[in-house]
């Protein structure tokens, strides 16, 4: 079986097709930025993008990926390493505490902003509610998203 992750096609060899994408990423491809938190699609630590749509990878069988493009936290920045405005906002606003949930948070926020570059507070809440933060950094997560949304409004990030 083959899957495409962050623009690279990986040959997985013989693998149980029911293996959740999460464990394929972590154990087979050493892409450990995507995290295990609950295994029942409740916490969002394992969130990835599948063809641009948010997906909890802990219950998503690898066989379901097919020809879709998977994007993990390792593939969010540009190929040359340039961070996205959201990643930069996460650094500048010092969002993380333990940081364990933040890969999933950033993936959810990226998916939101790609579809809706200027989300309202309610739209931010709806997009981010699936992602738990045990340390309670929700306020800073929202502020980071709003900072990027505000600069999108004023056209600084190319709208």
């Amino acid at each position: 079986m083959k899957i495409n992750v962050n623009g690279t096609t990986h040959e997985l060899g013989e693998i149980n097709p029911q293996t959740p994408l999460l464990w394929v990423l972590r154990d087979h491809l050493s892409l450990v930025g995507t995290k295990y938190g609950c295994g029942i699609s409740q916490c969002g630590a394992c969130t990835v993008l599948v063809d641009g749509e948010v997906m909890k990878s802990c219950l998503y069988p690898v066989s379901a990926v097919g020809d879709a493009q998977v994007t993990t936290i390792e593939g969010v920045a540009a190929k040359d390493g340039t961070l996205t405005p959201l990643q930069q906002a996460w650094i500048d606003l010092d969002v993380a505490q333990c940081g364990y949930c933040q890969a999933g948070q950033i993936i959810s926020a990226e998916a939101l902003m790609r579809k809706n570059p200027t989300p309202s507070d309610d739209e931010i809440d709806a997009a981010m509610n699936p992602n738990l933060c045990r340390c309670g950094t929700y306020i800073r997560i929202r502020n980071a998203i709003k900072r990027v949304a505000d600069s999108n409004k004023s056209g600084q990030n190319g709208g």
Binding site: T72, A77, M128
Partner: protein
């Protein structure tokens, strides 16, 4: 009664709860005791006159330069300046804040330094743990002294190179300067000379006047922020070592049960399974419980094997805990006198002489730590040594238990500190390290032991539930004159999970005060959980004080300030920094003022105030909430009918006095996070037990608060310059629940006395 022993579990818990409040040095020595041989060997090294008494790292010579390694915190070489962060990072920010202290006193350019997590070395660093909000206060002076010494040596090196007096020189941005001549030289270029100099005596070292601080007190972003947003491997769970296999350990769902039989041969035939075996456990409930280990080629294959594993458990020794039975027994005990813990004045006489009284039965459920990174540990046993990669808050005790599991000496165990995906007290206990070591001991390959979320909850060391029968009174002036706190706790292994004392608020502030305690038999392990003791006592005592203020028909803020009284120190407190009523009153007044206490509020909206002293921090919080109308009647967890009501927490204003702030960004983050954690916990978090089993084992039933319910949080800090800094990981947690509880009463007249308050029908908008 179970024959399991709880050695270590209770000691650690006590250390991080009431014993640490008294600064008990004996217990500290006991918990952090070194292996004797290692101790003698290492102290011998110190005696031989190593630089500054630090054992590592030694300076390394290169072709034409020598690294300047004055102590375990600083290395200056041709690559630049590296600062070593000694304590575990669990989200409290010490991988950033501790090196900030070093950089400040060293006058290093923060934008150019590199921060690395240090190795474990008790001689170089002392006790390296994350708990009790101690990392800042226990390291502050030590780091400043070590860094100022290094700075003095760099100045001396420049003085010798330029042949001038060191008194003509100053430092800034990793350079020594001579202002009169405009000469400058970088620390890197001074490293070789500095490394050859004798270490000046500590008496000759002058620390900076805090007024000269350039870095401390400013907002500095976390040193791992970029690695985090790029998804780089930082956490224990991210560790991969060559030839590593993946392990799962299945224990009895009722804690303490042992393995009768299991379909081990069948499981061994499953795809990807490398080995399956039974471990008997060592009888210590804090180390190794009986179970079945599965080693596989991937986590998923191990999990599939676990699913197919069929174990017959012997539950003779297992927990029989029942929350519903415990509640009934507690309600009965609440009506009887319990063992007297403290008694000042005459409570009974005060009640008889009183003008008004209040009485309330408070209760709180068990909760689990639930750090988002489930417990895990990678272990490689090599016959005469053991290498560990562990996300632990207490690496020293992790090394000792791993040695115990493998028959090695602690000196043969190497532990790499990994970033922890949350701690909250869970990782003070190293049972997951014990298991990993025991499994690795029987494995050809290095193994990564992974707990599932269900394991993480079921085998947690819980914050114990508890019950308080509260009674009190006021005199004709509305002054609180009598107070009785009758506490019913749980006693795993025969020792109370939590204890009240005469020092619990309002001890020392009320004339007639009686404190009593009783305990219920229990088996599940209970332990330190963010702000142990205080995290629930604050709710009980600050809400009950509000009840008395209401009974006296007085303003809650006015009564709180009256109880605090004249500025004075009360008790020895934590690390010798006891509660001071003046500091308390100052934060209370500041929070009230910034929140607009007393202002006109819309209908069904109210404000509540609460103060609590914990971990040497003085914290006041004011919550502003709205309560919706009565909705439908539903059954709560306990099978009682309750009326649902919507709660909106608009804003929480927090005033803290924790001495000087090291990293303002980190401090504000801790305040915001503590408020949200405390709100989440008080709203709906509960673990109940029946038939010896936890009834909630994942986030579907243990519903941590979501982003949309977050209130606005305003953080204010008081620093009078009179006190040393203390930690901020814990003390903001306790006052939140009573501030919200009191605000609910102000908004709608309903007095919440149960945590979580979903038990009384409240849910967050």
């Amino acid at each position: 009664m179970s024959t399991l022993n709880y050695d270590g579990v209770n000691e650690i818990t006590e250390f991080f709860t009431r014993k640490s409040l008294a600064g008990d040095a004996t217990l500290s020595a006991q918990i952090f005791k070194l292996d004797r041989r290692q101790f003698l060997k290492l102290t011998g090294m110190v005696g031989s006159g190593l630089m500054l008494g630090f054992a590592l790292p030694r300076a390394r010579a290169h072709a034409d330069h020598v690294d300047f390694n004055p102590n375990g915190y600083i290395k200056i070489d041709q690559e630049g300046i590296t600062l070593y962060a000694p304590n575990p990072e669990i989200g409290q920010g010490v991988k950033t804040s501790l090196p900030m202290i070093v950089a400040e006193e060293l006058d290093a350019d923060w934008t150019e330094i590199r921060v690395v997590q240090s190795e474990i070395n008790q001689v170089a660093y002392g006790q390296q743990f994350a708990g009790g909000s101690t990392a800042i206060p226990s390291n502050y002076t030590k780091l400043r002294q070590a860094s100022a010494t290094a700075r003095a040596m760099l100045v001396q090196a420049a003085a010798e190179q330029w042949n001038v007096s060191s008194s003509t020189l100053s430092t800034e941005s990793s350079q020594v300067l001579q202002v009169s001549t405009g000469r400058k030289i970088s620390y890197q270029d001074l490293a070789t000379t500095a490394a050859s100099l004798p270490v000046p005596s500590s008496e000759s070292i002058k620390l900076k006047d805090p007024k000269q601080f350039r870095l401390l007190g400013t907002r500095v972003t976390g040193v791992d922020n970029e690695a985090l947003v790029r998804g780089e491997p930082l956490f224990g769970i991210d560790v991969t070592v060559p030839d590593m296999k993946y392990a799962i350990y299945q224990k009895c769902p009722a804690i303490g049960g042992s393995v009768k039989s299991a379909n081990i041969e069948e499981i061994k035939q499953m795809p990807g399974v490398v080995d399956v075996f039974t471990l008997e456990g060592n009888g210590n409930i804090g180390e190794l419980l009986p179970g079945v280990a599965i080693i596989a080629n991937s986590t998923w294959e191990a999990l599939q094997a676990k699913r197919a594993l069929n174990v017959q458990w012997d539950e003779t020794q297992a927990a029989k805990d029942s929350w519903s039975a415990a509640r009934k027994e507690a309600a009965r005990l609440a009506q009887e006198n319990a063992s007297q813990v403290a008694n000042t004045g005459d409570f009974d006489a005060a009640m008889i002489a009183s003008t008004a009284t209040a009485s309330g039965f408070y209760q709180y459920h068990f909760v689990t730590h639930a750090p988002l990174e489930p417990q895990n540990c990678t272990a490689h046993y090599k016959g005469d040594s053991l290498e560990l990669w562990a996300p632990t808050q207490t690496p020293g005790s992790a090394i000792r238990t791993a040695a115990n599991m493998t028959g090695l000496q602690p000196s043969q165990v190497t532990l790499h500190q990994m970033r922890c995906g949350g701690g909250f007290g869970r990782r003070l206990y190293n049972d997951f390290v014990s298991e990993a070591a025991a499994i690795a001991y029987r494995s050809e390959n290095p193994i990564k032991l992974q707990w599932t979320r269900e394991d993480d909850v079921r085998y947690d060391l819980f914050r114990a539930g508890g019950f308080h029968q509260m009674d009190g009174c006021v005199d004709e002036n509305g002054k609180v004159t009598g107070w009785r706190n009758r506490f019913i706790t749980f006693a795993p292994g025969g020792r109370p999970a939590s204890s009240v004392s005469g020092g619990v608020f309002p001890g020392g502030m009320i004339d007639n005060l009686r404190v009593e305690q009783a305990a219920l038999d229990w088996t599940h392990r209970c332990a330190a959980w963010r702000a142990p003791g205080s995290n629930v006592f604050a709710f009980v005592v600050q809400c009950f004080l509000d009840e008395l203020a209401h009974a006296a028909q007085r303003d809650s803020l006015e009564v709180l300030l009256e109880v605090l009284g004249e500025p004075r120190a009360i008790g020895r407190g934590w690390r010798g920094q006891g509660m001071h009523t003046g500091r308390a009153a100052n934060v209370v007044k500041l929070a009230a003022e910034r929140a607009g206490w007393g202002k006109e509020l819309p209908k069904n909206t109210g404000m509540g105030v609460a103060f609590y002293y914990s971990h040497a921090g003085h914290i006041a919080e004011v919550a502003e909430v709205s309560v919706g109308g009565e909705e439908d009647t539903v059954k709560n967890r306990s099978g009682e009918n309750v009326v649902r009501r919507k709660l909106t927490v608009h804003k929480v204003t927090v005033a803290s006095d924790v001495g000087p702030i090291i990293n303002l960004s980190g401090a504000e983050n801790q305040v915001e996070g503590s408020v949200i954690d405390a709100l989440s916990t008080m709203m709906d978090l509960s673990i109940t037990f029946e038939n010896g089993r936890a009834e909630q084992t994942n986030f579907d039933k243990y519903r941590i608060m979501r982003a949309s319910a977050s209130p606005a949080v305003e953080a204010h800090f008081i620093d009078t310059g009179e006190y040393p800094p203390t930690g901020l990981g814990e003390p903001v947690f306790p006052p939140l629940a009573p501030a919200v509880g009191n605000a609910i009463f102000a908004a709608c007249g309903h007095r919440v006395r149960t945590l979580p308050i979903s038990e009384e029908g409240f849910y967050l908008a």
